[in-house]
């Protein structure tokens, strides 16, 4: 069962001491395991995300990267292993402590996950309204600034359903940035977008990253986008990392599975043929 019950109590908020002295490691993942429906989705993941870097987790669909991201932000408890954000084990932390950490995180979901009953501006204002004491007129100004950063000032009073896919992702990014987070997670920034819009979003991420010096964790299956924005790349395959390194090293890798992914080769014909045969058998 997920934790539904972890809102911060406004009276118990305090300024976290860690904010003034950023640790070198923002997120420390050790031995993360998760089995879903008998399949090992996360198979002993170890990962360190350094403060201020852009880490891109690259992998084919079904490689476990979505589950990994959901586990990193505290949405899906792992079967084993730990996730520490700024040294705190998020699955062992109390509600109030977890909520304090979450206030310093931002996440942009793949489809945007904007609240359909609220305008774009209200979506961005929501975290400000709920978690800060900022008065309403200032919230509106802040929302305008955040939406301006992603180029959506003109769409402030539109409903999410009136936006295109790319605009929705940008609005989600603006909402993720509402509380000036120190770590931002982005789920598939370029999925479902045309190449030009996707490149625009990549560019935006690089720009925002430069200006705000935040830590950015992006998952994607788009290689081009990954190489554009990454400081470090983690290539994920079957629930484990094949390689975690700077893009140049990843590009030069001689590992056959890495090469296959980078060179966009389909799986070796033998297992492809086997699967196809089984598929035909199942069809009868």
């Amino acid at each position: 069962m997920e934790r539904l019950d972890d809102e911060v109590n406004p009276n118990t908020q305090s300024t976290p001491a860690a904010a003034s002295a950023p640790a070198a490691t923002a997120i420390e993942v050790r031995g993360l395991r998760r089995t879903l429906g008998g399949r090992c989705v996360l198979d002993g993941i170890d990962l360190d995300v350094r403060t201020g870097e852009t880490l891109v987790i690259l992998g084919a669909s079904g490689s476990g990267k979505s589950t990994l991201l959901r586990t990193l932000v505290g949405l899906e408890p792992p079967d084993g292993g730990t996730v520490r954000i700024w040294g705190t084990d998020i699955y062992a932390a109390g509600d109030a402590e977890l909520a304090r950490i979450r206030q310093r995180l931002g996440m942009a979901f793949q489809g945007g996950a904007l609240f359909g009953s609220m305008t774009v501006a209200e979506n961005v204002e929501l975290p400000l309204a709920e978690l800060t004491e900022v008065p309403p007129q200032n919230r509106r100004i802040l929302a305008r600034i955040k939406l301006g950063m992603v180029g959506l000032e003109d769409a402030m009073d539109q409903l999410p359903s009136q936006l295109s896919g790319g605009m929705r992702k940008r609005a989600a990014l603006a909402r993720a940035l509402a509380l000036d987070p120190e770590i931002v997670f982005f789920d598939e920034p370029s999925a479902g977008l045309d190449p030009v819009t996707a490149a625009g979003l990549d560019h935006l991420l690089v720009q925002l990253k430069k200006v705000f010096e935040m830590t950015l964790v992006v998952i994607t299956h788009e290689m081009q986008s990954a190489f554009t924005i990454a400081d470090r790349l983690a290539l994920m395959h079957d629930g484990r990392f094949l390689v975690v390194d700077v893009p140049e090293v990843v590009r030069a890798s001689r590992d056959p599975v890495v090469r296959r992914f980078l060179d966009r080769q389909p799986p070796a014909p033998t297992d492809g043929g086997e699967k196809f045969r089984r598929f035909l058998e199942e069809l009868g």
Binding site: L4, R70, G116
Partner: protein, 264 residues
Amino acid sequence: MASVLRSLGGSTRDLVADAGALWRLAAAAFTRGFVGPFRGERVRARATLAQAVRAGVDSLPLVALICFLVGMIMALQSAYQLRQLGAMDLVAGLVAVSMTRELAPLLTAIVVTGRFGSAIAAELGTMRVSQEIDALQVMGLSPVSFLVVPRLVALVLTVPCLVIFADVIGIVGGQAIAVAALGIGAQRYVALTLDALVLQDVYTGLVKAAAFGAIIGLVGCHEGLKTTGGAEEVGRSTTSAVVRSIVLVIAADLFATALFYVRG
């Protein structure tokens, strides 16, 4: 045989697990909704009011129509029997007591389940599927405070209000039949009704109504929140919310009626 037992055991286990989850949601909602405000948590008055309008005001016409018709039916059915005893005057009391104690709360609960319980499940299910619930959690906002409590409080407050209307309209329905077909005057019908009714009849119904409101809200929210997958699952959650709400409402009705019966 073994497989039948196994599947029976499996579904029983699922049902028990589900009941446990529903109970935990109820406990969390109670803590958030009724204890939280005393600890300085925000009271979402505007959201609650908006939900109360949807649950109450929007359901009123249908509740009124159904209770009016059922009031008429009750008058006719009881007249059919009472005519043989020559005790037509008892129609007024029979309609009034059965409306206030039983039919108005039950019918209102069923209408509200169909109109609002299903809407809650569909809404929360869609939010779950489109990751909006996840987004709330990642922001550090509790879906229980943000979504469940306003709906639950709105229902616990509005269903009894609807039942008061339903009581009156049901009695007026009976009166219409009495005047039109049974030869009892309008004023006499009112006097007979007031003679027969005691305050306990009314508040018995209202206590039930509040409990039904809580059931509809909890089941609707629970079914919505546990949705996984896509649009098809949202439809399934909606159906499941309506079916389970109605079953639980009727079971709770029997329990409450038995309790009130024993206590006099």
